[in-house]
Amino acid sequence: MTVLLEMNAIQKAFNGVPALAGASVEIERGEVHALIGQNGAGKSTMIKVLTGVYRRDDGQISFNGQDSVLTNPREAQAAGIATIYQELTLVPLRSVTENVMMGYEPKRFGAFIDWSAAHARTREILTRFGIDIDVKMPLGTYSTAIQQLVAIARAVSLDAKLVIMDEPTSSLDTSEVKTLFGVVRSLRDAGVSVLYVSHFLDELFEICDRVTTMRDGKTVGCVKLAETTKLDLIAGMLGRASSDIAAAGMTEFGGGAAKKGEILLEAKDVATGPRLSKFDMSLHRGEIVGLGGLLGAGRTEAARALFGVDALRSGSITLKGAAAPSQPADAISAGLGYLTEDRKAEGIIPDMSVRENLTLALLPRMTKGGQIDRAREREIVQHYIDALDIKTADMEQPIRELSGGNQQKVLLARWLAIEPDILILDEPTRGVDIGAKREIQLIIRDYVDRGYSVVLISSEFEELVEGADRIVVLNEGRCVTELTNPGITEHKLVQALAHTNEAIV
């Protein structure tokens, strides 16, 4: 085999903060190469440097035997690099055909799009993926999984030499993942290289040849998957010896012995739409209930239903024996808090200060005759900055200037400050560095120990397994089973997810 791509000693900084500090990767022709690392390790930046979205500050890239000087995604495509980004980068309002063909439409007379040919070609490409849909409908009318596969179909159809897949399976179900792997293998057999970014480590062992691990903007190693173990990969990502992890456990949650109090929250047969059709759970005082499931299983929808964001189509939710709130403001006054998954879109108010962000949910309780009690506000904010060890210049610093972990702590403080009986946490440690992650886990544990309750959503199984007293497992919008600690293991959780149709005792 020969080398297709070589990225060497890449440097890239944003506003003086280095995102890549001497990262390297080497991919051979016809190889499926995995790229792994914690959030913030620099994987996405690496890809964007490669595809010309970002300009590198220093380092060499050689692609297909030539020095590469790509400056925009179009040039990358022309050079034979196709990318499927983590966020869907298609246009949902436009038809499937347009999304697949955009920029490469078959033409008549050199100018006019030949729509019948375009539709036919799109159908043909999608058939290879086992998708049979009306290609003239807007892409947005189809499920996220279909949209993801359409994005991949587009990339593959462009005769690429290298296909980059950034978390391609995060929204796919098991059979769709199988389809995707089939496509990846056929690409490899055709001599196309694949750069495969994923945090589902088990997948890598199934599909990839070699893996490059990144940490803090640097490459820490490149090994054959056949010659390594999952524990070693995790150790590499975390930068710790694998023996430590095996002994100490992965999280700071440390089993809370379930001391159940009275039932605070109960959901029965709740449905809010196609993505949440049957949701049941109960939550006792002093308890952490985890919601388990893959992406798209309906966990966030369940949280939104509990918090009164989405209206119920059927079923009922009772909160402390009374009917559940129908909008966030009511939910808050009834003693609920909801830390959202998408910090940027639904959490922070970027231009506002740490102080203003922190007290947003608390405002109604800090007000005298419409006026904010500013002395009390500062006192509360200072308390939480100290208690959660939020690293900020002062409380007037705009929250956008803080690191992801500290932003998350401010948002957590926003909810802790209203002292809710029930705190719903949707991916509370996603996208924060490992240190902040542990701190956040400790804060949550401490909160529950003080007699409050938590609904925890997390894609990191360790967090659920070690943190939750019980796990309600969801699949395709329905509750499929419930696991109770002590006794939950990652293995059992995975089994519950895998055998969703069978009853598990």
């Binding site: 006054s333 405002l363 419409g370």
Partner: protein
Amino acid sequence: MSMTTSEITGKSMLQVLRGHGGVVALVAILLFNMAFTPNFFQLQTLFVNISQVATIAIVAMGMTLVIATGGIDLSVGAIMALAGALAPLIFLSEFGTAYPVLGVALAIALPLLVALACGLFNGIMVAKLNVQPIIATLILFISGRGVAQVLTNGNLQTFSNPQFSYLGTGKILGLPFQGWLAVAIAVVLYLVISRTTFGRYVLAIGGNERAARLSGGPVARVKIGVYMICGALAGLAGLIVVAINSASDAARNGSLMELDAIAAAVVGGALLQGGRAPIFGAILGAVIIQLVKYTLLANGVEDEVALIAKAGIILVAVYVQQARKE
């Protein structure tokens, strides 16, 4: 406590300075006038400029609040015409002439209520029906002035009513009444924005509406609130214009005011995507726009060229704002 307050004002003054260079621009214009414009530093000049600037500033402050939530209000000029048309109708009516004091009071109160109702309409369209602000306020932009003209049959209404005219010609401590009024409104709105929950929600909604809603913010109520304030301030400005002229012309009152107000707000540092409400900035913006107009006029440059200058100011102001963000 007093320490921290002064610290905050000191910091915000600095931010104003660094913020948009508006103050620098203002100083430059003043220096230019000192050097070249004859009779610039005379009381008369000051009066003319203050009375002109006050109406723009009052509308621009309302606009600033709307823009702070990420909205826009195109209907302010039409609301001015409507309020301005109603006032003379009321105090010139039989009732108004029979009870002059009550007549003038009603001639101020009723148009303001109507203006408030217009704002309520805009607010409901935007907040409850989720219509984009440009389109929602386009409705009243088109029909509001029409209603004013229907009410007055398109006639110019002239009058002589000293009490009512005080709004536009009165003086306190030798300075025009509406100037004081504008300053008073600015102080109140500044306190509302910086000290009240309502103000905090205004900024939060503009900064990130979904986050504000999920944090329990009464998004619809606050949005309706800002459109109502903006409508009421536009109504007030309409009354002032009528009072200055001792005449109400529904066709011209407030014509193109939406553009001046948006320009003043933007020059003053408001971000169209929301999240910022520089109230004093709006006044500064209004002053700059008025002074440029006046300077050009006083130096014999045609009115038309002033339009081009205004266009230039807006572009430069926003470009500087944009460049600073990146």
